[in-house]
């Protein structure tokens, strides 16, 4: 085998180079992946990260007042790493939406989760007509819109007394002027927007001043609720009580009954049924 020895030598050189790459790159990748960062002066520090959920495509994120990134259209979350430990102010915004601001505490090698709530300034609002226009009616039909009739039944049945809502293991209910939430899942799986309340097994989400007329989960979310309160209209409220405040935004001026069906809000105001889309 005359060529075998030169072949083996070449093979050993390649193996040597690749082994060197392996032993150099693996520790670097592992350190970086575990949250270690290199700071000026070659100081290695333990950092943490933030994971922002429910970010609408095209929104922008800034950290401590500095622009960080614009979210691609088809993305809905953002993971930021390499943040120094301590409190960081996160701001998410998008044109024609109310901004979302939260101060999150970053611990070494840990990730804090932010449940971004961007509510449109001018949500799509549409009246559900009560009657079909005369030109579209079939002979002999009384002219009442089927959709209106169905929604009307649902909204009239929607009684706030004893109302409990459950979504993805989060339970919300009302006690007088207060709204509470509880985590139904395993204790250690409690999401960060709910504080694990060992003694009372319930979290006070909202203390109303006026009478609460209705409440439900925000469409598609279990961390945000919709409340209809006398004197305050219908508004969104995040459960997350971390500072600086609970983000809340008014979507209807008048308080009244509503129902969330297939991620669309239907509001029963006087005799009218109004469709509200918060996308």
């Amino acid at each position: 085998m005359p060529s075998v020895f030169s072949h083996i030598r070449r093979k050993n050189i390649i193996i040597g180079i690749l082994s060197a790459v392996f032993f150099l790159s693996v520790p670097l990748i592992i350190f970086y992946s575990s949250g270690y960062s290199l700071r000026t002066g070659f100081h290695v520090v333990k950092t943490g990260g933030i994971n922002l959920l429910f970010l609408p495509g095209g929104s922008s994120v800034s950290v401590d007042g500095k622009f960080y990134k614009k979210i691609p259209v088809f993305s809905d979350q953002l993971f930021i790493q390499g943040l120094n430990t301590g409190i960081h102010t996160i701001r998410a915004e998008k044109e024609n939406y109310y901004p979302w601001i939260k101060r999150l505490e970053i611990k070494a090698q840990k990730v804090a989760v932010g449940y971004v709530l961007l509510v449109p300034v001018n949500p799509e609002i549409k009246n559900i007509p009560r009657y079909i226009p005369i030109t579209g009616r079939k002979p002999g039909v009384d002219g009442q819109s089927r959709q209106y009739a169905d929604l009307s039944v649902i909204l009239q049945k929607n009684n706030i007394t004893g109302k409990i809502r459950i979504k993805k293991k989060v339970v919300i209910w009302r006690e007088g002027k207060r709204i509470f939430a509880r985590w139904k899942g395993r204790k250690k799986m409690t999401p960060e927007f709910l504080v694990d309340n060992f003694f009372f097994k319930k979290n006070l989400i909202y203390q109303a001043k006026g009478e609460i007329l209705d409440f439900d989960f925000y469409p598609g979310r279990n961390d945000t609720i919709l409340i209809s309160e006398h004197g305050h209209g219908i508004f969104t409220l995040e459960m997350d009580k971390r500072p600086p405040y609970q983000n809340a935004h008014k979507i209807m001026v008048n308080a009244c009954n509503f129902a969330v069906i297939n991620d669309i809000i239907y509001v029963h105001e006087n005799e009218k049924i109004i469709l509200v889309r918060l996308e």
């Binding site: 072949h7 575990s34 250690k188």
Partner: protein, 525 residues
């Protein structure tokens, strides 16, 4: 201790004292302590693979941090290994291109190769005349003095009268092209045999020795025996290339000669999965040809008759006779046997069933049969335990490299593509709030993308290796050939890792496999 070779086959023979005739098949051939040892060695590969997977899965629950670090390191290893193999593949491709352009007759000028006889054994079972004829035609048209070829068409009695008649018909048609042409019929149900290619080939070879070699006084030391799967179509200068490689060796009888199996015969008719598996297999063997000290024999290959005679010819009691004959010769030559990479192709059939589903099932079964080569692990380990003639470090090297190959085949793809994501799913809240848990899928995904990019080497070579596109097919088929490589994460798990794990599990539980003949279908042109 080891039993004598003179005990009849039914009384569990183990001729291990004479390592030139070390032909152990499985643990059932032993008794007492030897049976226990052999059985333990049969369990070992499967146990090792399952333990690896079990430890990884358990670690996802118990120690997600540690397993995540391991997975990242393993991903980097996999990336570098792919790069390393791609370098070998590219080198081998360049060599093969050069070898295909080489005029081997010119290269052999001045060498006395006219004395070399080539005994070609073509074992078959129920394959069609179309397939056999194509192989015979290629032999008859070989760029070599075909009168120096002795061809044995080895039929099975079990296949019935049709097979015998087919062989006789082909004999009549083709015998004039060759020095000798013999049809052998391997009798059914011979004692101590497992039906399959090994028993048939061995029978054909002994018949050829009697009826061709001894009868015509052909010099045994000048005979090279090529055993071809029946669908093997040689390239014109195969015998010239083989003769050159044979003459290049200091001790040609201490070497096996391995061409590169290229599954080109029906590649345009094969489905994407079938093409992918065919090329994966070809590329694996091209890479193996670059790692000479690990190369063994596979499918169609050649040995000197002297080496075969010394080792007692092919084993009749096993499935993977193609690789086992190498190890038989290895023990018979006290560990001095090696395989010469010919870096010259032979064309074979890609797996193509009548329907897509049949093809998929056939691919799985064929891969499992190939992975059943794991039966060589207990054979090697047992032989190494009792053989004092092979140097200790050589035994260790051979055993570890062989074991590692089977272990990595069964476990590595699963670790990479499936277990890699498990810590995030099962690591628990504590782990899922760490930076590492967020980075694990990102790092794994990015490393896999880079790894997949190195497959572009495979895609490029596969296009160059393909035969001319039939006129009835559109040029866009080339695009499919390139794009098929994105299926690698699927095929590597379902048609490599799972069959390997299946074969190892069967061996672990003593459910010994029988020889499964891959059905061959070709479109009539």
């Amino acid at each position: 201790m080891l039993q004598s070779a003179s005990i009849p086959a039914k009384k569990k023979i183990m001729p291990a004292i004479d390592f030139s005739r070390y032909k152990a098949g499985n643990a059932l051939e032993f008794s007492g302590r030897q049976k226990f040892i052999y059985r333990a060695l049969e369990i070992f590969p499967g146990l090792l693979s399952w333990s690896t997977l079990a430890v990884c899965v358990a670690a996802c629950f118990i120690a997600p941090m540690q397993i995540s670090i391991f997975i990242i390191a393993f991903d980097v290893y996999w990336l570098l290994k792919t790069l390393y193999l791609s370098i070998h593949l590219w080198n081998n491709w360049k060599k093969m291109e050069k070898n295909l352009k080489t005029d081997w007759k010119l290269k052999l000028a001045g060498r006395d190769y006219t004395e070399i006889w080539h005994l070609v054994i073509l074992p078959f079972y129920n394959e069609s005349g179309q397939i056999i004829e194509k192989s015979l035609k290629a032999l008859a048209e070989a760029d070599y003095d075909t009168k120096k070829l002795a061809v044995v068409l080895a039929a099975e009695e079990k296949a019935g009268k049709n097979a015998e008649e087919l062989a006789s018909g082909l004999c009549k048609k083709y015998k004039k092209h060759f020095g000798y042409f013999l049809v052998s019929i391997h009798p059914e149900n011979l004692p101590g045999e497992q039906p399959g290619k090994g028993a048939n080939t061995s029978w054909a070879c002994s018949l050829a020795r009697k009826k061709i070699i001894e009868k015509n006084h052909l010099p045994e030391k000048n005979i090279i025996v090529s055993v071809f799967d029946i669908d093997t179509v040689i390239y014109p200068q195969y015998f010239l290339c083989l003769s050159w490689n044979y003459l290049e060796q200091k001790n040609p009888e201490l070497a096996a000669y391995q061409p590169v199996p290229v599954f080109n015969n029906n590649i345009w008719e094969a489905s994407a999965v079938s093409r992918l598996m065919a090329y994966s297999c070809t590329f694996w063997h091209m890479i193996q040809q670059e790692t000479v000290n690990r190369l063994t024999t596979f499918s169609s290959h050649a040995h000197s008759l002297t080496a075969l005679k010394k080792s007692g010819f092919w084993q009749k009691n096993i499935v993977s006779e193609d690789s086992r004959i190498y190890w038989n010769c290895f023990f018979a030559s006290r560990g001095n046997y090696y395989t010469v990479p010919m870096v010259y192709p032979v064309s074979m059939d890609a797996n193509a069933g009548k329907t897509w589903l049949e093809t998929i099932i056939n691919i799985y079964k064929q891969q499992r049969r190939w992975c059943w080569g794991v039966e060589n692990i207990p054979y090697l380990a047992f032989g190494f335990l009792f053989n004092k003639e092979i140097p200790f470090f050589k035994k260790i090297y051979v055993f570890i490299t062989q074991l590692f190959d089977f272990w990595s085949l069964a476990t590595n793809p699963l670790i990479i593509f499936i277990l890699g994501w498990m810590p995030v799913l099962f690591g628990g809240t504590q782990f899922n709030t760490t930076v590492l848990s967020y980075n694990l899928p990102i790092v794994t995904r990015n490393l896999m993308i880079i790894t997949m990019l190195s497959l572009s080497v495979c895609a490029a070579i596969s296009v160059r290796l393909m035969p001319e596109l039939p006129e009835r097919m559109k040029k866009t088929r080339f695009f499919h050939v390139i794009m098929q490589w994105v299926l690698i994460p699927v095929t590597i798990n379902f048609f490599s890792a799972l069959p390997a794990l299946d074969a190892q599990t069967r061996l672990m539980f003593g459910r010994y496999m029988n020889f499964w003949v891959t059905p061959k279908h070709r479109r009539k042109n």
